[in-house]
Symmetry: C2
Subunit: 334 residues, 2 copies
Amino acid sequence: MTRPTIVHLAQAAGVSPTTVSHAFSGRRYVDPDTKARIVALAQEMGYRANPTARRLRSGGGGSVALVSSMPFAVAAGPSRLGFLMEIAASAAVTALSRNTTLCLVPPLERGSQLDALDVDGAIVVEPALDDSVLDFFFERAVPVVAIGRAPGRPDLPAVDLRSAETARLLLDHLGQQGQRVGLITGSQRRNSYIEMEAVYAAFCAEKGFTPAAMRIDERGGEDEAAVAVEAFLRQTPDIGALCVPVDAFAAGALRAAAALGLSVPDDLRLATRYDGMRARLASPQLTAVNLHLDQVAETAIDMLTGLIEGRSSSPKPIAAPLLVERASSARSSR
Amino acid sequence: MTRPTIVHLAQAAGVSPTTVSHAFSGRRYVDPDTKARIVALAQEMGYRANPTARRLRSGGGGSVALVSSMPFAVAAGPSRLGFLMEIAASAAVTALSRNTTLCLVPPLERGSQLDALDVDGAIVVEPALDDSVLDFFFERAVPVVAIGRAPGRPDLPAVDLRSAETARLLLDHLGQQGQRVGLITGSQRRNSYIEMEAVYAAFCAEKGFTPAAMRIDERGGEDEAAVAVEAFLRQTPDIGALCVPVDAFAAGALRAAAALGLSVPDDLRLATRYDGMRARLASPQLTAVNLHLDQVAETAIDMLTGLIEGRSSSPKPIAAPLLVERASSARSSR
DNA sequence: CTGAAAGCGCTTACAG
DNA sequence: CTGAAAGCGCTTACAG
């Protein structure tokens, strides 16, 4: 048996397809008895409107994509998976309540066979400068909302992650003991790194520190970070605190400290950005920042559905980032 | 400007829509020059086939859903999020290579407005007995593949997680010192728990142990597990090793042990199932099992696309589970 | 080598 | 209170 269509149901109910349609959509009055009969029959026959047909006729309105600009394979190397997936989970819930489904899109290589990707909009997580993922959607005239502003694209609708404030929070906290504070960011040009580096430069100027900053390629993950941070700490032994926004890098920094015989937090205070499992389960636990990712995801979905429906996106601001103090940056007793 | 359709492109190229269609699909010969002209024009006009129309006409073939039978809100409380999301990431990659997109579906409450869910198939992760998620898709005649066999539904296509073997691996390992081994599972009736409990019963009989097992409601997460396991350990003080397949529960068990002043592994050896971040970042690190989730996800996608296309699913077996020994179950020196 | 026409399953003006 | 008809943008027999 093939799936019943609106025509079958209409015949069975002795009405026109028009009436069936309205019985379900409620877009115009249908005699209560007729409606009841239609609904009962639909139940019995197992009729449900074909969503594809509905979309074709009514135009869009079904699904949005969630895309990380980072390769999944890399992202999966714990770090960004947590960040992306926490957003994914919240976004899926919000999307559903807006009657939309959330498609998880793995990294788009240029020219990949993605013609099947049938979405009405896309959320791109922390796009980098000249991110090809953005071009992909622009070419297709698919509306995009970024999570974290897009470097070089001030015009692109985005949910602001308030990275400058986050940086301030972390640096002020780490600097409170008067120690020289170092900064480790990623070499990719994401807005959060850019803003953090800028705040860091100002912070150093205020405090009279010589900046001690390094960028590490995200693709190297924790292992590369462990090696790089160890070298960094050897070179700048007077560093008393380290701000490491990428949690995988922070985990690497922890290993580097151990390798050098430095105790965290007594010899080296450490803080990261994303308060995920990684920060919570590290030993010592890592001071981090509550970025309100649930709110971020919900706002992104709302802005995107707004864009899709042609409403101008009311930029609902996200709550201010909140420092979550943990053992890794406790005031040293020495 | 509205998006160009096949008719616009056909007019511009001076051919029929039929020819345009074939120029792209390659389903019949088109004069090379004509084809080149069409492609160039499409590029220029920004024409791309409307995937919705294509699907309506050609019938399905676009997207599959990934569903956890656990509420995201709960799942997000670290535990299952890792498990689900690791599968999601792999599945999304595999799906793309099969020209399919992966929709993340939050938990389906009965009667939720999910009519917009327009998928050709679904992967359900570790369904429980009488899982309503399965009914949801059955009602819609959407093909389903389970990850982990579905209790009470031996007929449902599933990727076997080889839970009996996993249980054997863990129990033999934990029992190798001759200690009495306890088992903590979830109260939901998932196949992995059921199989583990059965293997445990046999294991106890072989070893001559009196079984010491407990089930905890998954919804309570780590906190409830900490409390419950503490009580459990007080009641059965001769337990020397604990098999705790749910990683969140294992984390709770770690806390329970600490509360009782028991050292892991010296006083209590511990092992869990899913080798996620939680196991790796716990202190001490948790012995766990490599379930080959990437392979599992890929196989699930393959089986599902097979079902959708009417091919019988060749049940490609997953590699045997592999024990990953870590400090939490090291041979005690005492 | 290419076209005209039917049709996928809906929704929505238009009409009464 | 309800229907007949057009049309969303494609693909695919059928025909030449």
